[in-house]
Amino acid sequence: MGFQAIFDALGNFANLQMWLVIAAGTLIGLIFGVVPGISGLLAITLMLPFLYFMTPMVALPLMMTVMAIQFQGGAISAILLNLPGTPGSSATLIDGFPMTQRGEGGRALGAAQAASALANILTALVALAVIPLILPMIVALRSADMVFIILLGLTFIGVLASDSMIKGLLSGGVGLMISFVGFQPTTGAERFIFDNLYLYDGIPLIPLMLGLFAIPEMVALAAKGGHIAQSRVPIKGMADVWRGVMDVFRHKSLVLRSQLIGFLVGALPGTGASPATFMAYGHARQTSKNPETFGKGNVEGVIAPESANNACESGALLTTLALGIPGSPIMALLLGVMTMQGLIPGPEMLTKNLDLSITLIWVIAVSGVLGIAICLPLAPRLSRVAFIPGSLLAPIVLVFALTGAFSYHARFEDVLVTVLFGVIGLIMRRLDYNRPALLLGFILGPIFEKFFFIALKADGPYFFMRPISLALIVIIIAVIAIGPLKALVKGVKSRRGEINT
């Protein structure tokens, strides 16, 4: 890739129109990201009739901005209300919401926004450099290898469940089972449909997610009274937010590792942002000096998924542009618009239309800067949500959750699913079962199954006898063993200490 193309692409930012497009996309992405159920995907779908008639240099940057910025909006509702604004923000709430309950919502928001913006900027720059490296890697990975990459993600159920292994594994298992409802495209089997057409496509993710997390918290809040923040800690306004921003720079290594996980998983076709965020979260917990504080409001648990979900979209963009394979539903829309504009995704995007491809990557970086410029000053005010009386907040959030579920596909059944999983979530909360583990099982189940069946059919029962697959198996064993090994070493050390004293 020539430097000339990079500078030509930068030249596109010399006109006011491009900045207006990015500013408009940033606002739209933030608003649609914050409101649960109506992620950037819906925003872009609504814009489609107009996008087709815009020039590629307007339509595609507008889409990219909405896509890149939605997670910054999604993190706000996840952290403050336990309502994941987008599926990619679902891991953020595990530690983000407990921070809000502790009166540290501003800090969590600061960390999330800084991690997101940094991911947008850094991975955009990295994307430019790694195009020649990443494509051969994607081509080299067969379905058999993908089985073990997803299995690696599934092992993080164990990490999420480390407080209570049995309950966590049970929750993850139930999540997997729920994910098996519907028509199985690899085998053609119809499972647990009960002659109900709604179940044909399986249980939808967004209504399940809204029910599992938003409803139990709000019902509990309404029943308990008071407000989300459990203690009346003083709000330090911008100082709290800056503390969160500085947390990101204090955990530089974690930020980079999470971005790498997000970027690589995003670049793999057919995975999406949610697995990447959980993998980054699990990795953060495993490598943290204080793993026991995860799930109780550890800022590292916010930084890791927010770094990963934004990095993920940069990776997905590469695969979409270079191979024409959409890594996420938004990328499928991007492909649709490109087709309407007469642009053929594939090698041409890296030769004939290289300046457009690089412009899109720059747009991710610029929108990251704009997003943080808007969100950070708002964060202190937003964090006051934690001090709104529950009697006022709970009905509003419940209405948002249910309308969000309905707006997903305008189906009443989605509202019922939200309510059903709200009840399940409430029971799980009361009995201390692990809701994130259930979600992770639900998200990874269909992807694992897809690659497993394809690998089995294409390569037979010994599909794992490939160097990459075997290497991945070794990594999985290491990931599973790292916790017990750490505990063993710690135990040996403490015993030695006892003997010495």
Binding site: P49, P185, T186, V337
Partner: protein, 346 residues
């Protein structure tokens, strides 16, 4: 008392007159005025961004130029288009709710092979037109040592990739394996899209695929595959120099029956239709004007960008004839296709 009765009678009479005048004006409204005044909802059984959604959006983009009113897309994914088709089946036949759906996967295949939750009878819809019909292309990995169908007959364990276990691509694979007589071949389903199948071919996981000419053409242009034939009786403008399988292979009577069934049941063309019982005047008007839309320069230019080519649509009665042909397919042939699907789709 009499005066009150009179007053009431006069009021009722005036109201009746008003209603009659309104009804008359509504009845005398021409389809042209109707579609100028009203907006149309076009239901699509897929999420936004896919092939059928893009095809529908080419129509809505030029709808107001032709009809005056607007057309809005309503994406209603679910049940492999069954949810959307059921919805239009039950919609009020006022001509304002229409469906754009693939002929093969959505209408013909569900009729011949069944589909869970299906409530509609394809013979009763109000058919307007079918457009963007491209014969499926069969392509194999560019580096494979086979350059013709005759060469390919020697292949061992040929693996063809597909998306879902139902629809045009997997049954295309089944048809090709049967026509080539490759008993040890298989169709591996579950990939998300044609480009993903292309990637699997590139990395050696699969050997070939059957997809629309447009998708086949894209993989050929990327240098991933080489097109060997169209799984049809006709050539495709998107695959120049590629002959149809009916000309390239000498087929047994049984193989001919399978190709005929596949060709009739798995057309990729997108059908624009309305609910059963639409006003014949409105239906005729839609049929006439939609041809005008499809022949407009703007639409043709957009179609060439999106589909890579433009062809005359199949309209009205001709389309109804195609539906009848599907319904008349012998059950024995359908059963045979099902048996072959069980054999090849692993």
């Amino acid at each position: 008392m009499v005066r009150t009765c009179l007053r009431i009678t006069v009021r009722i009479a005036l109201l009746a007159l008003g209603l009659a005048a309104y009804t008359q004006s509504a009845l005398s409204e021409t389809p042209e005025e109707f579609y100028k005044k009203n907006n149309v909802e076009i239901v699509v059984g897929f999420s936004a961004g896919g092939g059928t959604d893009s095809a529908a959006r080419t129509v809505t983009a030029y709808w107001s130029d032709t009809f005056g009113g607007l057309a809005k897309i309503n994406n209603m994914p679910g049940g492999g288009t069954v949810v959307a088709t059921n919805y239009v089946w039950k919609a009020k036949p006022d001509g304002l709710t229409l469906l754009i759906t693939p002929f093969g996967t959505s209408l013909a295949a569900t009729t011949l092979f069944g589909a869970p939750g299906k409530q509609f009878d394809v013979s009763k819809f109000s058919y307007i037109a079918m457009f963007a019909d491209e014969p499926p292309g069969f392509s194999i990995g560019k580096d494979l040592p086979y350059n013709s169908l005759e060469d390919l007959k020697k292949a061992k364990g040929l693996k063809l990739g597909s998306t879902s276990a139902k629809g045009m691509p997997p049954f295309g694979g089944v048809t090709m394996l049967h026509l080539l007589g490759l008993d040890d071949g298989s169709v591996i389903t579950g990939y998300d899209s044609a480009p993903e199948v292309g990637l699997a071919i590139k990395r050696g996981e699969l050997h070939g695929m059957v997809f629309t000419s447009n998708s086949t053409n894209k993989e050929v242009k990327k240098g991933v595959t080489k097109a060997l034939t169209t799984v049809a009786y006709v050539t495709s403008p998107l695959l120049p120099g590629v002959k149809p399988v009916s000309q390239l292979l000498k087929l047994s009577p049984e193989q001919q029956r399978i190709l005929k069934l596949y060709d009739a049941a798995f057309k990729s063309g997108r059908v624009l239709l309305g609910p059963p019982g639409m006003d014949p005047a409105k239906l005729e008007y839609l049929r006439t004007k939609i041809v005008q839309l499809f022949k407009s320069k703007g639409y043709q230019s957009m179609a060439k960008t999106v589909f890579g080519y433009w062809e005359d649509p199949v309209v009205g009665k001709d389309l109804e004839k195609l539906v009848k042909e599907v319904q008349a397919m012998p059950k024995a042939d359908v059963d045979l296709m099902n048996q072959l699907a069980k054999k090849y789709i692993k």
